[in-house]
Subunit: 287 residues, 6 copies
């Protein structure tokens, strides 16, 4: 019936129409937030980010490039059993493996930060020299949290177990327990508080290397990204993070995730809008 | 690609999968709110009602019946030119005509109340003896509003020009200018403030007749439906409106609309949830 | 230091000062909401209900009685591992067992509805003839939910496995899948939509029996209790639930819980205030 | 300059144009909320109620009467020194005296409930047989509050000192300390929880008498009136209070106030809208 | 009546008391937002900006100058027919013409951005060499939007048709379709993302020229100005825009507008407060 | 009873466990906001700041130091008579005197800014050469406000009467009446708008001197600190204020307060979180 076919694409990020086979990057949403201690709610993020992307232009003046000709596929949200951490991580890992096996770049939208672990696990298998870039207010380097090994607060410690020493680069970190900073001194490149400066300083060293990027939206100050579970005042501006993201095209990105957006704390929707813009720049960088 | 096919149906009301051809009722969203004087925002309603319907069960304990086997089709939102009232009404009218010509029941989700006019215009052509049931806090019977003939405040006056005298039944009315109530005395069946009582009294008289039902969500008290443009304290409860809607299956409904839900004023989403429940009962009644 | 000793009691429900040993009822908060599918956030409820109880009077005009002379103890919140359902239920169960062993009445504040299961499990051991009264918008009688046996949507099915057939009394139910209603017909006393009427009808039959009461706050309409995870329009008023709760003193209550209050969706705090009032009446009834 | 003269009347309640001299009733706003213990914010009420009255019709279907021909004057807000209770009460009292001396009916909009005291003090001088009707969730009958004699929690006790014994009629009361209820037994007509029933029962007894009416908006349930400082679940509906207010025309009202509306807690504005409707009915009753 | 005369000036911006005849600048509010596609609501802006201006000081430390001695007149809001774009633009244009004919500077408060078009049309007639400065996140240079020539998304294209080539200066632009940027290359001075730097670079070139300034509040980052219809993360700070506005006194401003403030999305009111401050600086610059 | 002892410390800032006797700094909350003219609500701040501190780490990467070994004591909130300014200030002053007499550093959490006056009064007695550092958007230097000498708008004028001329250093000031700026020229060191730059310039001059620091949270831009009574756009970022606060350890701080946080306007809680972080850095600096 003519005139009535609009609805079919509404649910997809920036109206992606490509099919899976031809795509270069594959977007997967993960509505998981069970291990969060403070304010859950990130499970609604993938849907919300897609919804607000409806108002975003395909064209980016930041990179003078348009998503129109790019080949990416939005695969929708994973079906995960609420409250079952083990099974959920398994499903994420299996999905990442499948995308990698098909020669595509996995792009995961959280959900909580823990989802980074199963993805990096698979990406690191494919790229043993993988370097991981973490943009985050929190170190996330504890060994355990409330006695649990798998938590949003331990995720980057687990990630460190998948990659080589000193292959984790951390930017914007401004919260953690003493032990995390001691660990970081020896095993990671940690940059405190600042984001753009340290990133540009490391850019040359990173060029060419296969890199995985994980952005915890709380790296940005809660003024710009109030919609997150553990807001941490003192972060960078939205303008600054967009300047950093615009440089991603100079990197060899083999995987990416964007986590901890929490629509329930985002009345103005500006956090989801910022996430959608970051995602657009990222897709322009890798496709 | 297996496991990734979930997203396609997300945008539809209660995951309707039927195709247009086999359907008995056709849902159409109309994102229009230009003539509103107080608080615009109802244009976001069709999408929001679909979104919250995701959490609604197919089965209704109110009518012990399930939408699973019902044939309805969600055609999505109409593309209307923002700010152009004339063209927008034309598009709505044409759409209603098409659905009626195909022998189906039109179900419109507003948007503002003015959308009722072009739909009833077409339905009344098909059913000259049509009776219209209006559930509303406001009479909407002015002849003009700010000198305009076509407005959310004049819509039922226009509707009266399409149907026979005294064929409009109004329930829950509790606001208007003196002239509207004078007009109503002569030309409509107006019931003040109360909803369920007067409806049940009229039920017998209405049975068998082709009826068109228009529900302005503000007939319900703003405690239960805060998400609306011109909230009017002193309305019925959500329990009461659901009891009334459960009786709709005793009527011969040939068209229906639900208008004035405004998601921007509905932080708790309970207005959209109530609208989705009303819509479910309605579809159970007509399919 | 004089004048500075106020703070110590701030965190407790209605400034309870009694110690554990002398208490008749013991309040325990459970900040758990991992299995929730729609809107998590109930983990913040125990703290919030205590906080708003600060503005509540000890004296109740509903029962002309005061909490001043009652012996109850607020034990604070349980330490549970976020995301670990199994371990969390174990901790709850162990706590309930301890309270029962000490001859006291367990009063649990959720958190999600699943917490009812481990508590009833222990209470039913103590009282094999136990009858359970459930006030809820949802049947919660599924056998599995997303393949999981332990979920907020299956909790009352699990509870049924702990008590005798037809020993579950359900009030206010207005949502569920077909199978739940079929199950209920055979195995429970289910009362649809209405609360006060059916409760009063059953009151005589229940008198004397050991009863456990679980109140899911969503039994109340979202107009009165917007702060909940799965709001279901069409419920009872706050006045009605308070009238019902005032009758609890005629019952032989051996355990109680109040679940699914979600402060994050409760901007006006009226849901937490209602919960605190219910809790006050309950404590007056059992102490 | 033609076409530009609209603004002058915007700030007034329902566009009152009358001058003071010809008016029968005089509206005065009192932006005072200093003695409030829980949530201040009622000082913004008079302005807000005027603002939302802009969307209210002059005509009332409740009483089939219109404000168009009524003589009332909106005198604006009093200038009071923030934080200075004594001086503020003095200013209120002087204003009430002036209005009464001019043979007009004082209509005060709070602000906190304490403002009732200085007004009744003057009205009772004029009408020694004055009966006071209080619609309120709280008894407000303490002798002191935090050692202060003048407080929102003691106001009706002070009022009792201005009028004869048993000349205070209280409706909807559902909170207070034990002592208040003991006092009420001897010195007032207190009706618990219910509003409309008790009011109708007392109506005959009150007819003819000079009466002063004070409505604390929290008599209405927080579902209908969330915008108030000490919300108390279990109150009446907005429909019920409007039915009661519609009967006020049968009384001989010589003074009136409406207090404790708090716009800051009234996101949907429905509390202010209800207040404006109550005020309209009241003005229709006395003018 | 003494002490009661406060209200008359409440509705005006910063209590402007001057009459029209003596004024140098005339403020006009335009409650229009019909052509907006995403989030309407800007129609409430003029009233809200006036309301919050009540808390603003007359004196500005930014320019060490006070509005006390300045001659400006707040003419209130235009009466426009909701939903009728053509008639509304006509009314705006006629008003601008009248103000210009009287030798005064028009200062319009939106409403949506489309209102700039009829104003500039008249100003450009008076000043054929007019240069227009646009501070905006969006280029607004489309030729048509949803087939409409007159829309908030095409307004600066229409403006370009009223002034000479390359006489439009754009600052802060960070969103648009490819075609707009191509158009800008040839016909406007477009500055991407940054605001203060490019403005200062152009300041000398602009000095002396008659200039019209249009500020779309979304040029500021949504962290500082969340109350707008199409928030675009990555903008300037409120401090930066105030620094720019403080330089306006060096220009020969012959007309001005401030658009797209949307109070409904501005819970903290900081967007309206920023708008009021900008307006104060502007009036200080031109009076 | 083991496992149930968690609650006792919940109400304290960052779980302070120290007793008063051994402490070096003593935190006192003052729930006072009676003299506020615009938006009251700061009385809830002390409790809220303690509540959110629960999610804050003891360790600070800003100063590479941890609160674990520091000796500070949270004494809770003062009991003050709501609405009685005189008595309240007396209580505050007496408390400050007691803390100083015991050789400890007073740390007050407001409440409104007026509370600074009684504290400084006592501190200045102890340290006649005291210099006061004020971080604030408003000068607060009026002599009277609405005829009152004691007000949040006159507080720093009163403070000036307690210390030597030119011993008040003001940073970030961007609002006030002309007279305040004239006064400042002669009697204080006032720095307009900027915060970090001027502070660093004055740092050397201040080193060694006994200093009292008062931070009005509105010195920070409302984007970062929306939860305040009189938001003033154009302030510094949260990152900037934290950088400044990190330098406090270079000063000889003998007293401190943090005022004007208003939880009711702080939906995202980021203002309270920022306040808690500032407080942590301050305690690290003085203990």
């Amino acid at each position: 019936m003519k005139g009535f076919d609009k609805l079919l694409d509404q649910g997809k990020f920036l109206r992606s129409k490509e099919n899976y086979e031809d795509s270069k990057a594959v977007i997967v949403g993960v509505p998981m937030d069970f291990t969060v201690s403070f304010r859950p709610g990130t499970r609604m993020a993938p849907r919300k980010i897609r919804e607000v992307s409806y108002g975003l232009e395909d064209y980016s003046p930041y990179s003078d490039d348009s998503l129109n000709d790019k080949k990416y596929y939005d695969a929708g949200d994973l079906d995960i059993p609420f409250g079952n951490v083990g099974k959920s991580l398994e499903i994420i890992e299996r999905t990442a493996a499948m995308i990698l096996k098909d020669g595509k770049i996995p792009v995961f939208i959280g959900g909580e930060h823990l989802i980074t672990y199963p993805v990096v696990k698979q990406v690191a298998k494919e790229y043993p020299e993988l370097k991981v870039l973490q943009f985050d207010a929190h170190a996330d380097l504890r060994d355990t949290f409330f006695d649990e090994k798998l938590s949003h607060a331990t995720v980057m410690r687990r990630v460190c177990e998948c990659i080589r020493e000193k292959h984790l680069y951390q930017f914007g970190i401004r919260s953690g327990v003493k032990e995390e900073f001691t660990f970081a001194e020896q095993y990671t490149h940690m940059n405190l508080i600042d984001v753009k400066g340290p990133f540009l300083e490391n850019l040359n060293e990173l060029r060419g290397h296969p890199v995985y990027i994980t952005i915890d939206i709380d790296v940005v100050d809660p003024a710009f990204a109030p919609g997150t579970g553990t807001p941490e005042p003192g972060g960078c501006t939205s303008k600054e993070i967009l300047e950093v993201v615009s440089c991603f095209r100079e990197l060899n990105i083999v995987g990416f995730d964007l986590v901890e957006v929490s629509p329930i704390n985002d009345l103005s929707e500006r956090t989801s809008l910022l996430a959608a813009k970051i995602l657009r720049e990222l897709l322009l960088a890798v496709c």
